[in-house]
């Protein structure tokens, strides 16, 4: 990853940390609850590099709710991530990562991801750029 690209990710992640609220992307506001933040650290079990959103699954415990599960996280569409320089090789099964996001309204162990931090400290902004962020 180039330094410039990393800087873009860090700025984007910073927006998330700062709680900047961006317009919702289609039904994400209906599907996910911005009042229910999720923070999970664990090992990536599976990655689905698919439309309309990527999904990745992390086995770990949510710091907020205490629920230990295989958490499903949605991200932006592959198209949007590819233009940011994030490809299917950026996230691998077996990686240990920390993910922050907002939980699905149906109460399942699923969430819309907002940012990923790798074990070496790299931060990657995985959200679609329009999704609501945790309040």
């Amino acid at each position: 990853m180039s330094r410039n690209l990393l800087a873009v990710f860090l700025v984007s992640a910073g927006l998330v940390v700062a709680g900047v609220r961006l317009p919702a992307h289609h039904s994400e506001a209906a599907e996910y609850d911005a009042n229910k933040p999720v923070r999970v650290t664990g090992v990536v079990k599976k990655v689905e590099w698919t439309n309309p959103h990527i999904w990745f699954y992390v086995e770990g415990k949510d710091e907020v709710s205490g629920l230990a599960a295989v958490w499903g996280f949605s991200g932006a569409a592959p198209n949007g991530l590819r233009r940011r320089g994030i490809t299917k090789d950026s996230l691998k099964v077996g990686d240990t990562i920390k993910v922050q996001g907002i939980r699905a309204k149906d109460g399942s162990a699923n969430a819309a991801s907002k940012g990923v931090t790798f074990s070496d400290g790299r931060q990657v902004f995985t959200a679609s750029g329009e999704a609501p962020t945790a309040k």
């Binding site: 317009p23 289609h26 209906a30 309309p52 295989v70 198209n79 162990a109 329009e130």
Partner: protein
Amino acid sequence: MKTRLSVAAVVLCASLVAAQTSKPAPRLSNGKPDFTGVWDHPRVGDISANVKGACAGGGRGCSSVVTGELLFTPAGKVEWDKNNKPTTYDYGAHCQPWGFVRAYNTPYPHAYVHHPDRLVILWEQDNRFHVVPTDGRDLPKDLEATWMGTSVGRWEGDTLVVTTAGFNGRTWLDTAQHPHSDALRLTIRMARPDYDHMTWDITMEDPKFYQKPIRNTRTFVLMEKGQELFEYSCSENNRCEGGKCAEADVQKKK
């Protein structure tokens, strides 16, 4: 008047800056500007809010400037109140067409393939297309109601004026959920002042839902050579469709 002057100033400044940094626009065989290319547009989540600087595909220099304010008719207010709730059903999340205006608002670029007798619009969102005949025909008198409407275009000098009508009223103007009715009529004035920029000036008239027309003046930026539209398949893995997330195989209890 003040707003109109501001919009004119923005367009003029953009044209002057562009003129200093870019080649002339290419021409079609009939001498008119050729809009062919992959274009980055502003991400517009709300048609009543200005957007400056950022392009949906990662570039810079895109913008959307609003003229006027949204004033609902009683029928439009009823529809808006129905939409403006967090639990509202979003047809887009169920992979139905986003509609003409909203397709231009998305986080994904669009492209034009331009011939002397037609302009073909290719939206990356849902990989949808739309053909605008420019051969002098008028809009059909008896329009079929469709998701994306029916368009015709005519030239006024170097500006292509596209008129679109015949909507089914089932889409929104934006993700902020501004509604429109089947009476929506769009007039878009498209120009390519230089090689790298387009102006896209849209007036949205919907007398059933809005007391006055709404106007957005947008700037598109040509994407770098080699950039192309990508595949987009909405229904491939739409796991949380309708707000209920399907369980993945790795989440099933053993």
